[in-house]
C-alpha cells in the first residue's frame, strides 16, 4: 500500500488551470468520489491512474458538469464552475474526450468536427480544421462517412480532433487508448504530445498504458474514490505501477 499522500504544490504566481477541492460525488446513494483534491497548472499534463471502477470517469464527468458534486468545489482558471452547465463549461474552454468516444453516429465525420467548433470562444482564433487534418491524416479520406461507421481507432482520433476544434485550454482524455491497436496508440500519443507542444494547453489524462502515462508531468493515483498518491511521473516507482496500472 502506497501512502505518499502529498498536497499539490501550487506556486502562488500561477492560477491553476484546474483545481478540485474536497470533491464528494455520489451516484444516488453510493459514494463514489471521496474528498478529492487535484491541481493542474497551465501547460501541465496530469495523468490520473487507478484500477477499474475506482472513479476516474466519475471525476472527469464531475469536472465537465455531467455530475453534480454533493460537496467541494471546482475552480477553473481561478473561477468556481460548479454551478455552470456542461455547455457553458465547454465554452469556457474545457474539452472532453469521453471513455467510449461518444461520436455522434448518424452525423458525418465532417459534421462531427463541425460540432467541435461550438465551444470555440473567440472566433478570431482561426479555424483549426486544417490543423486537425495534419494531426490526424487518417480522417481526411473519411470526411463524408458516418461517424458511427468508423473503426474504434478512427473514432478515437475523431473524438480528439473534435475536442481540439473547440480550442480548449484544458483537454480531458478518458482512456484514449482503450481497445486500440498499438500502432494507432503511438499515433494518438504523438498527436496529443504535439498539441501540447504547439498550443501549450493543459491535459488531464486517464490512462492504463504505462508508455502514455510516462508522457505526463504528474500523476495522481486513485483508490476507492480517493487520491492516495501523487507525484512527478519521473519518480513513478515499480510499486505504484504494479499497484495502479494493469500492465
Amino acid at each position: 500500500m502506497v501512502s505518499t499522500l502529498t498536497t499539490p504544490q501550487t506556486p502562488a504566481t500561477a492560477n491553476p488551470m484546474l483545481h478540485l477541492q474536497g470533491l464528494d460525488v455520489y451516484y444516488g446513494e453510493s459514494h463514489i468520489l471521496r474528498q478529492v483534491d487535484l491541481t493542474i497548472l497551465p501547460g501541465q499534463m496530469v495523468c490520473l491512474i487507478g484500477r477499474n471502477g475506482v472513479g476516474k470517469t466519475t471525476l472527469l464527468k464531475s469536472v465537465m458538469g455531467l455530475l453534480q458534486p454533493r460537496q467541494g468545489n471546482i475552480f477553473y482558471q481561478g473561477q468556481s464552475i460548479v454551478r455552470r452547465s456542461p455547455d457553458q463549461r465547454a465554452k469556457l474552454g474545457i474539452g472532453y474526450v469521453p471513455q467510449g468516444r461518444e461520436i455522434i453516429p448518424r452525423l458525418t465525420v465532417q459534421e462531427n468536427l463541425q460540432l467541435g467548433r461550438e465551444a470555440q470562444r473567440e472566433r478570431k482564433g482561426g479555424d483549426r480544421f486544417d490543423e486537425m487534418m495534419d494531426l490526424f491524416p487518417a480522417l481526411k479520406d473519411l470526411l463524408q462517412r458516418m461517424g458511427g461507421d468508423l473503426s474504434g481507432g478512427q473514432q478515437q482520433q475523431l473524438a480528439i480532433a473534435r475536442a481540439l476544434m473547440g480550442r480548449p485550454s484544458l483537454l480531458m482524455l478518458d482512456e484514449p487508448t482503450e481497445g486500440i491497436q498499438p500502432s494507432i496508440i503511438l499515433e494518438i500519443e504523438a498527436a496529443v504530445r504535439r498539441t501540447i507542444e504547439t498550443t501549450g494547453i493543459s491535459v488531464l489524462l486517464v490512462e492504463q498504458h504505462l508508455h502514455f502515462v510516462q508522457q505526463a508531468d504528474r500523476y495522481y493515483a486513485m483508490q476507492r474514490g480517493g487520491i492516495v498518491a501523487s507525484g512527478s511521473t519521473e519518480e513513478l516507482s515499480q510499486d505504484i505501477i504494479q499497484e495502479f496500472l494493469s500492465v
Binding site: 456542461p86 465547454a90 455522434i104 453516429p105 448518424r106 452525423l107 461550438e118 458511427g148 461507421d149 473547440g166
Partner: protein
C-alpha cells in the same frame, strides 16, 4: 375511374396535412422523447389565426386583400403556434423533462384548456388573464427584487398570498367584465362555440380540369404548401447550424452538451418549429372545411400514426406513411374503394366490397386503419425504414 382519381387526389391532400403536422411531432419526439398531446391544438390555433386574418382582410375592404390574405395568414399561423409552443415548452414541458407520463397528462390538459379557451375567449376574459399575469409575475418580481434578507418560510407564504390574491382579483374582474353580457364589448365572444367558416380566396376556388377529372385548386395549393414545408425542413435540418445541433442533440444529448451545444435552447427552438408547422397545417385545413375548437383532435391521432409507421425522425418514412394513411383512410372512408370495386363487376369481389362498405364512414375508416397499422407493426416494429448498419444505436 375518374371518381377514383379525384378521390386519390383528395387523399393525397389529406396526407399532405397529416405530414405537415406529423413532421413537428416526429422532430420533437425524437429530440426530447416528449409526446405532445396539445399538438393538434397548435393546428387549431393556426386555423383560428387564419380566420382572424381573413376577417381583418374583410375589414380592410376585401378585394385584393381577400385574395392575398392567405399568405400573411400562413406566416401568422406559424408565428402564433410557434410562440404558444415556445411558451408551453418553457413553462411546462421543460419542468417535466424525463417524466413521460406526467408530460402526457400535462399536454393533454393543455389541449383541453386551449380548446375551451377559443370557445370562451372575449375581451373580458383576456383582461382577466392580463390582470392575473401582471399581478402574479409582477408580485413575484417585486418580491424577488426587494426581498428583505432571509424571509425563509415567510417567502413561501408571500408567494402563496400573491397567487391567491391575483387569482381572486383576476377571476372577479374577468367575471364582472364578461358578465356585462354577450352584446357588450367585454362580453362578446371572439369566436362562437360553434364552427366558423373561412372562405378560400377566389383564385383557390374552382379547379384544374384534366379530362374528366377536376383537381380543386385548394387541394393543389395544400400539396404545394407541403412540398415547400418539406423542402424547408429538409434544408433546415441538413444544412443549417441549428439543424445540425438538433440532429446532434437528438442522437446524443449529453455529448452534445459537452461539446458546448446549448441543449435547452435547441429544445425550445425545435418545439417552437414543430408547433409552427402544425400551425401552418391548421391554416391549410381551413381551405378544406369549417374551423372549430376540436379541429386538432380530428387530425392528431392520424398524425401520431404517421410518426409510428414512418419511424421517428425519418423524413422519407413520414412522407410514405402520411400519404399511405391519408389516401387509404380517404378512399375507404368516402366509400370510393367499395364503389370502384363494385363497378368492376367482379362478383367474386362481393365479400370484399361488403366489408369496405361496412367501413365506409370516416370513423369506421379510422378503425380499419388502426387494425391495418397494428398488423403492420407486427411485421415491422421499427417502422417502414428501420436504421441499418453500424450506426444504429439500439
Amino acid at each position: 375511374m375518374s371518381l377514383f382519381a379525384s378521390s386519390l387526389f383528395d387523399g393525397i391532400s389529406i396526407g399532405a396535412v397529416l405530414l405537415m403536422s406529423a413532421l413537428g411531432l416526429s422532430i420533437v419526439f425524437g429530440l426530447m422523447g416528449v409526446i405532445n398531446l396539445a399538438h393538434g391544438e397548435m393546428m387549431m390555433l393556426g386555423a383560428y389565426t387564419t380566420y382572424v386574418v381573413q376577417n381583418g382582410a374583410k375589414a380592410l375592404g376585401g378585394g385584393l386583400w381577400l385574395n392575398l390574405y392567405i399568405f400573411p395568414a400562413l406566416v401568422l399561423a406559424f408565428v402564433v403556434a410557434a410562440l404558444v409552443g415556445l411558451f408551453l415548452e418553457r413553462n411546462i414541458i421543460r419542468l417535466l423533462y424525463g417524466r413521460p407520463l406526467e408530460t402526457l397528462l400535462a399536454t393533454w390538459g393543455v389541449s383541453l384548456i386551449l380548446r375551451q379557451f377559443v370557445r370562451s375567449v372575449s375581451w373580458g376574459f383576456v383582461a382577466g388573464l392580463v390582470i392575473f399575469a401582471v399581478l402574479f409575475w409582477g408580485g413575484r418580481w417585486v418580491l424577488q427584487r426587494f426581498r428583505p434578507g432571509g424571509l425563509g418560510r415567510m417567502h413561501q407564504g408571500a408567494i402563496a398570498l400573491i397567487t391567491l390574491l391575483s387569482i381572486g382579483i383576476s377571476v372577479t374582474a374577468g367575471y364582472g367584465l364578461t358578465g356585462l353580457g354577450e352584446t357588450s364589448f367585454w362580453g362578446k365572444l371572439w369566436f362562437s362555440a360553434r364552427n366558423v367558416d373561412v372562405t378560400p380566396p377566389g383564385w383557390l376556388q374552382g379547379g384544374l380540369s384534366l379530362g374528366t377529372v377536376t383537381l380543386p385548386y385548394a387541394r393543389l395549393f395544400i400539396i404545394s404548401l407541403m412540398v415547400v414545408c418539406l423542402v424547408g425542413i429538409y434544408w433546415f435540418l441538413q444544412r443549417s447550424p441549428w439543424g445540425l445541433r438538433i440532429r446532434a442533440v437528438t442522437q446524443n444529448r449529453q455529448m452534445s452538451a459537452c461539446l458546448g451545444i446549448p441543449t435547452d435552447r435547441v429544445d425550445a427552438l425545435a418545439f417552437a418549429l414543430g408547433s409552427g408547422l402544425a400551425g401552418v397545417a391548421g391554416c391549410a385545413v381551413t381551405l378544406l372545411g369549417s374551423v372549430g375548437p376540436n379541429l386538432g383532435s380530428n387530425y392528431i391521432v392520424d398524425a401520431f400514426m404517421v410518426v409510428v409507421v414512418g419511424g421517428v425522425g425519418q423524413l422519407l418514412g413520414s412522407i410514405v406513411a402520411a400519404m399511405g394513411i391519408g389516401i387509404t383512410s380517404y378512399l375507404i372512408g368516402s366509400g370510393t374503394l367499395g364503389f370502384v370495386l363494385s363497378n368492376m363487376g367482379a362478383s367474386f369481389l362481393q365479400p370484399v366490397i361488403d366489408i369496405l362498405d361496412f367501413f365506409a364512414t370516416s370513423s369506421m375508416a379510422k378503425v380499419m386503419i388502426f387494425a391495418l397499422i397494428i398488423g403492420f407493426l407486427q411485421i415491422r416494429p421499427a417502422g417502414l425504414f428501420p436504421q441499418q448498419g453500424r450506426s444504429v444505436d439500439v
